[in-house]
């Protein structure tokens, strides 16, 4: 009780003093943010749960793929021909499609094949 009495300052209105002290308190929003952030982090633990019954990405991807087909049809210009290049521009050794090792590519005579 003596300790409390020693906190009283003579001549100072203690109600106004409390209001002054409250004004100097730190922004409580920061504490709420940290506690909120912690519980948000806890939500990520839910990723361990099996969500096979709920949201499926496949359906959405299929829809967007159909939309892309429309976009590609819209930008398709049949008169835009693929650019041609001189024979000197051929990459050597040639990166045959699907034959990642040059030795795996079959030997073929182009005129007889």
């Amino acid at each position: 009780m003596g300790r409390l009495r020693s906190l009283l300052i003579p001549g100072v209105d203690k109600k106004l003093l409390v209001r002054d002290a409250a004004k100097l308190m730190p922004d409580l929003a920061r504490r709420r943010f940290i506690t909120g952030g912690a519980s948000l982090g806890a939500l990520t633990l839910l990723t361990g749960c099996d969500v096979s019954d709920s949201f499926s990405a496949e359906g959405m991807l299929k829809q967007i793929s159909k939309f892309n087909d429309g976009v590609q049809a819209a930008i398709f210009n049949p008169n835009a021909l693929a650019p041609t290049f001189p024979e000197s521009a051929i990459t050597k050794p040639f990166p045959f499609n699907a034959y990642y090792e040059l030795d795996d590519a079959p030997d073929i005579n182009g005129k007889d094949w």
Binding site: R19, D27, F33, L61, S65, I75, A80, L81
Partner: protein, 209 residues
């Protein structure tokens, strides 16, 4: 007592100034999601025809195989492009780019880099970017534009053949696309590390202040 000349408003109001407006925060986090989807599916696409002597681990790729990865990549690209376009338009229209990213001087970058590496770079005023931030944020915008354009040029090398030619042809455009991705990943490492080192900047990007 109500006629007192006092107010109960906090004196040290650091919560009044808005550091990051709502539209910036929204665009930022949508971009974060889109970028991660693009990178992970992009790595799966790369794995189908690697440019270098390595493949990405399936633990970090999205799509499972080339076909699945392309579905993801060509879906998330809309999120990235539309959101990115909104960011560019608003950034120029509101004057945010001019205000926040200019000027960038070599002397400033060197000085701030030195300060950062010696732990002396101040983050007191989050409304103002230091020279390193300005350089990296302006740079990543350019890289973002380049990666989208190079991506379009390898998606449609016949219909957009002039764009593809600008990059030096299909083969070179693939390398440009990859290098831009590597630059974005490097930026991400620095960006995330610093956001965690200065948590009030992360807070500002979530609640704005």
């Amino acid at each position: 007592m109500s006629s007192l000349a006092v107010s109960d408003q906090p004196t040290a109001s650091n919560s009044v100034k808005v550091i990051q407006p709502a539209w910036v925060r929204t665009v930022h986090w949508i971009n974060a999601v889109a970028t991660i989807l693009m990178i992970m599916s992009g790595w799966q696409i790369y794995n189908a025809s690697p440019l270098f002597d390595f493949r990405f681990s399936p633990n970090v790729t999205l799509g499972g195989w080339l076909g699945g990865a392309l579905l993801w990549h060509f879906a998330a690209m809309w999120l990235l492009m539309v959101n990115g376009l909104v960011y560019l338009i608003l950034g120029f229209a509101t004057g945010r780019f001019r205000k926040k990213l200019l000027p960038i001087t070599p002397a400033g970058v060197i000085a701030d880099t030195k300060a950062a590496l010696t732990g002396k770079l101040s983050h007191d005023d989050l409304t103002r970017y230091n020279y390193v931030q300005k350089l990296l944020y302006a740079g990543i915008i350019v890289v973002g534009v380049l990666i989208v354009l190079s991506g379009l040029s390898i998606w449609k090398p016949v219909q957009l053949q002039y764009l593809t030619a600008l990059f030096g042809g299909y083969d070179v455009a693939r390398y440009v696309h990859f290098i831009c991705m590597a630059a974005i990943c490097a930026f991400l490492v620095v960006h995330v590390a610093l956001a965690l080192l200065v948590p009030k900047s992360l807070r500002a990007m979530i609640i704005g202040r």
